[in-house]
Amino acid sequence: MIQAEGLTKYYGPHPAIVDVSFQVAEGEIVAFLGPNGAGKTTTMRILTGYLPATFGSAQVAGFDVAEQSMEARRSIGYVPEQVPLYTDMRVRQYLGYCGRLHGMSKAQMAERLEYVTDRCGLNGQLDAIIATLSLGYRQRVGLAQAMLHDPPVLILDEPTAGLDPNQIIEVRNLIKSLAGDHTVMLSTHILPEAQMTCERVMIIDKGQIIAVDRPEALTAQIRQAETLMVRVQNDTETVARQLQDISQVAAVRPAASPGAYYVDTEIGADLRAQIAEFIVNHGWGLLELRPVEMSLEDVFRELTTEEKGVA
């Protein structure tokens, strides 16, 4: 649904993105993850036709964003980082204006307005002047504007920036609920957000894509071993050594709190039942046993430090 090939953009002599290529399948929700200034906004602006690429090409819904710009733009709903609102207008007027610019008829407009109002939780706010709305509602108006003409592709630049925690959760749930109906590409610099909302993550740093995969796969790719955390009540010096002797256990490291250990096991091995039984049999008093997930945050740090090492 979205296809980018070798996108490169120079601002003067400085490249903002270099040779960015990726594909997004229909109905997928993909996060574009990277620190500020990594090139997320630039890439999105090229996809939406706001900026031309210096080199490379991109297609959205089968239309080349440079050659068939109007058709491509019709297929996209876009919310820039700074939500583009005319603050002197009422929500209804604003959405009406956006709809007319997409050539929607009155009848289409009435139907879609009801739908997006409902979907974006704007009931009762249609006649509010945009200037009086809270940030959370402004973000929703932005989303409503993007969904209004029922585009197959939604491109959302930092959709949760500046919102309070409750609003963030609402917006994330809204985005998740769009899966299937729309192909969604969102950018974020918040790692858990990408992990929570998206099926696939593209990590971009210094204008280059350095990893693309499902969040779980990304963590697995980096992780050398599966790790369990165990905590026992009757801690003795022999605990670590004896745990080490269980087959398929690669290493045992003491954790921060007393009686707690990280147990690294071979990849693919699930030793939880075995270890629990082992601890109980030795009468150590099992307090806690859980798998340790490597967070995207760790993956991200790992990938970006590697990158630094190369450079």
């Binding site: 939406t48 031309p52 583009p84 603050t87 610019l101």
Partner: protein, 239 residues
């Protein structure tokens, strides 16, 4: 073109939701009315002669007011980020420019309609040459349309409204004053200056002459300014 009209409608509405349209209308009519009244009181006999002066005053007051009407048209969209909304809709750059321009033209034309009472008052006082009224208004409308096009160009050059207004006034003064300079330079250069001067091209209209050459001049100037505005928008994409 439909998109241009949609944009024009939206701009026209926002002129009237802000105080700008009202302030400019009141200022313009106030100044023109004041000068017109002074003229009548000082020379009760004169009629048609007053018209030339009246049209000249209208144009000069518009020189200062039109950049204020156009300053926000593109500069504000840039500073608030809404330009990104507009430029990612299935709308061509020229439709954006024409839409904005039409809104400003419609507003100024409706302000000019309100000045029609002045020739009507002169008609009551005696007989009036309506042909001259017509040519005067044609001239004023052409000049003001050129001012608005140049003002829109100024608005496309910056994201700061006040800067846009100042650039606009500067450009209009250039096209106005270059006619004056024409007398103090060599004859051939002076001729060139005269030809590109808004003032020189306008003078015949206020005297009752509709000159095709002047019409071509204004249409060209408007076309150039609007074209440059479209290019300026495109250029912003290229940055």
């Amino acid at each position: 073109m439909r998109n241009a009209l949609t944009i024009a409608g939206k701009e026209l509405r926002s002129y009237f939701t802000s105080p700008l349209a009202y302030v400019v209308t009141v200022l313009f009519l106030g100044i023109i009315g004041f000068i017109f009244t002074l003229g009548i009181l000082s020379r009760p006999q004169a009629q048609t002669d007053d018209l030339a002066g009246l049209f000249g005053t209208m144009v000069f007051v518009m020189l200062m007011l039109t950049p204020v009407l156009t300053m926000g048209l593109l500069a504000q969209e840039k500073s608030s980020g809404t330009i990104e909304l507009l430029m990612t809709r299935p709308v061509r750059d020229w439709e954006i420019v024409i839409g904005k321009y039409l809104a400003a033209v419609a507003l100024v034309l409706s302000i000019l309609v309100l000045t029609l009472e002045m020739p009507l008052i002169l008609e009551i006082g005696g007989d009036l040459d309506w042909g001259m009224v017509l040519s005067g208004y044609v001239g004023v409308v052409l000049v003001v349309m050129a001012f608005l096009a140049l003002g829109l160009l100024a608005s496309s050059l910056t994201s700061h409204q006040i800067a846009a207004a100042l650039i606009g006034i500067f450009m209009l003064l250039f096209f106005w004053l270059i006619g004056w300079v024409s007398h103090s330079v060599s004859e051939s250069l002076g001729d060139v200056f005269k030809h590109i001067s808004v003032l020189e091209n306008f003078l015949d209209f206020s005297k009752g002459i509709i000159d095709t050459k002047a019409i071509v001049y204004f249409v060209t100037l408007i076309g150039f300014a609007l074209f440059a505005t479209v290019r300026s928008l495109e250029n912003r994409r290229a940055i």
